[in-house]
Symmetry: C4
Subunit: 243 residues, 4 copies
């Protein structure tokens, strides 16, 4: 695999857009980016288009401040700053997903913390803090529209977590690469759904911290990620893009 | 785009029928109309056919009282009066959706108010009053079968709202054009679902009035609506109709 | 339409099998029959095959006691007696669906009565009594395996209802023809789902008896049934069978 | 049918992989195996690939200890030991499914027992004990990574049951053949879902022990299993593999 070349990351990025739509993590809104493999001060992301229909021609390059390098007259995601904010603070993160997957919302608005309840949910890796844009910025559209918003969100994510909820809005999820951020986004939603159902049924026993650490490691080794990626790629009808 | 010509609004109307079916907002029942772009005293809507299979040939023109201009022997929606009632009262509304999307029903029958809990839900724009046909008309089929019913419903919608629930029946949703009414209908359902889940989980923090206003503006600018429209059109298999 | 000829009812029966599977009312199990249009002492039903793959060649003719007229070595539904039991008691019923659609089960096992909460749910027409095979037959497989079981179930259905739940098993639904029984089965499930959600959210206001009567009439006129049938037929990919 | 030849069981195994994915019992993870029809000390299972895309070429042969007989350089499921552990202890079991189907999780983490609430759920056949790897092994990744783990899980399953939950992880399901283990896995999930909904609605009446025994027998006779298998095969697009 050439997932570390610019060609490879761009291919993976297009496929990730399609997978996230096909698995119900994003709908008409949401986006995913990848840090440029040749220049850590840049990231690559689609123009303002729904992830499920993104193609290679839609990809654009941005500075970490969200300025386009090759605008081509395409509209841009208003919330692209989310991505630069995370890349700026977290050199270990090389891919970022912003989504509104349905079951993360109830946790963000109630403040009930998301905690791993199934081993695949341990892939979330760490705490999932809730960022409320209202705390520092008062009434807004809830959107992350500039670097001030973005840096405040990245500050909430902190140095150790891989995901943060955005109250009344969605979440941001990081990963060491596009495939890991995709898997983490999918299982964050699955974990939230199972937690919601379990809390309604009784008093759930969550994974212990030691279990989370070990299960997270298992879920994010290449063997596991690549198995899932191959399957999700085919389900999304992207096997030709993979080749 | 030619979305303001008669040709354009008819094309958008057919696509909206398909989108609303494909996204699960309507099933065999429900309908969507558009105010005639050349004559505000007329509206265009399909004959009595399920939205998911409506074609251009099914479109008919009505007076605001629900009288057909070009009947062609086609059956008509028994509840077409809903549309004229709204157009008559609300010159700012140019498209109307009537649907029974599933999660609005629990709110209409319990009286628990729908409130924006996610930024995309702010597209609902304003309060969502509940109209109970029983209040003024006693026992009925719950259907809006004449202009008296329709004007009472439009009265409940009032001058400032864009959506009203119909107890034990469904809802009516307006928009400045077909695309906005479609987006609003889809996210009214999403918001209801997320509100239902959040209320079961804990005590949700809803959007503040100031957040609703700003988020609504963001969700209903052309950039956002067109992004979603392009995606939903392709998902519904209508890209050829778009051309 | 020739829905009253033998050719027509057999065609409708095949399509109904496919529709019920496609709309999620039946899965691998469940069945639908029609009273023979030329001999009210006979009914027509598929051999033991999952409804979603039934073809015209699978159709068999039975006496009301469940004896096959033209067995052709095909396996038979073990629970075919349900159908004859209903036809025997209820001359007004000309089509019968037996299914295990998911949301009717919680009502059957808890004894919480299903009541119309949405106008389309009024198509259920009357009460929905719960039959518990254990009351008269003690421990069984819960299946209706002979005419004694079947007549006891038909007795519970009574003279006025169109649907009865079977505790820990599913339900039986009747209709004046195949299309009506299909529509009723689909909206019984929808109503159950909306009732479940509404009861979790608050205290629902159900349709009044007068509303149920009028809404039921509206939902089961040919205009409404045919509109839904055309749509469900196309969704199930059966438009060629319709011709 | 030749379901007892090596050729036949391998064909059924490939189809079962596809069915379990298509019916939502497995996603990117989970696996199914069959005891070798010619050597009870061996079992057959795919290499490490998502079940929905498994082909005949992916099948490998293992000793009960999980050692591959014909490795071909293919990656192996890390949790293959689950299968050998069950085959070793239970000569009556000839097929094993390990899955994370969603609704079994809330039961495993809360300790609320799964009990048959619908006749098809009686196919689960017996109690469904919960295995908590933490009890004997402390903090782990929750995965079954060796024969010690596997034998402890098989010990929890015991001599009489056909399914056990794995806390925070999923479940293991056995069967007399691939088709039965597939049907049991599907209806374990259905039963869990209906039990969750019923417990939320009221106080459910479960099947009596006598009903469970009789209904289980009915659901697992060849007539019932083959009817379901034919349908699920076609739904999964595997009719050509069946031939």
């Amino acid at each position: 695999m050439d997932s570390e070349t610019t060609f490879g990351v761009m291919r993976d990025l297009v496929i990730a857009n399609r997978i996230l739509a096909n698995e119900g993590v994003v709908d008409a809104f949401g986006h995913i980016s990848v840090r440029h493999p040749e220049n850590p001060e840049r990231y690559i992301m689609a123009c303002s288009r729904s992830p499920g229909i993104v193609t290679r021609d839609d990809l654009m390059e941005y500075t970490l401040d969200g300025d386009p390098l090759n605008k081509k007259d395409l509209p841009m995601y208003a919330e692209r700053f989310i991505h630069g904010g995370v890349y700026e603070r977290r050199p270990d993160i090389h891919a970022v997903v912003h989504n509104h997957s349905h079951t993360v919302i109830p946790f963000g608005v109630t403040g009930i913390p998301i905690r791993p309840i199934i081993h695949v949910g341990a892939s979330v890796a760490g705490d999932v803090p809730v960022w409320d844009i209202h705390d520092r910025f008062g009434d807004t559209s809830l959107l992350v529209l500039n670097m001030d918003h973005a840096r405040d969100l990245a500050n909430c994510l902190g140095n150790d977590n891989q995901a943060a909820l955005m109250r009344g809005h969605g979440c941001v999820v990081g990963g060491k690469n596009v495939k890991e951020a995709t898997l983490r986004s999918i299982y964050l939603e699955v974990n939230a759904k199972l937690q919601l159902q379990s809390e309604a049924l009784g008093t759930p026993r969550y994974l212990t911290p030691g279990e989370v650490e070990q299960a997270c490691h298992r879920m994010t080794v290449d063997l596991a990620i690549n198995r899932a990626w191959e399957y999700w790629t085919i389900r999304a009808g992207c096997q030709d893009l993979q080749a």
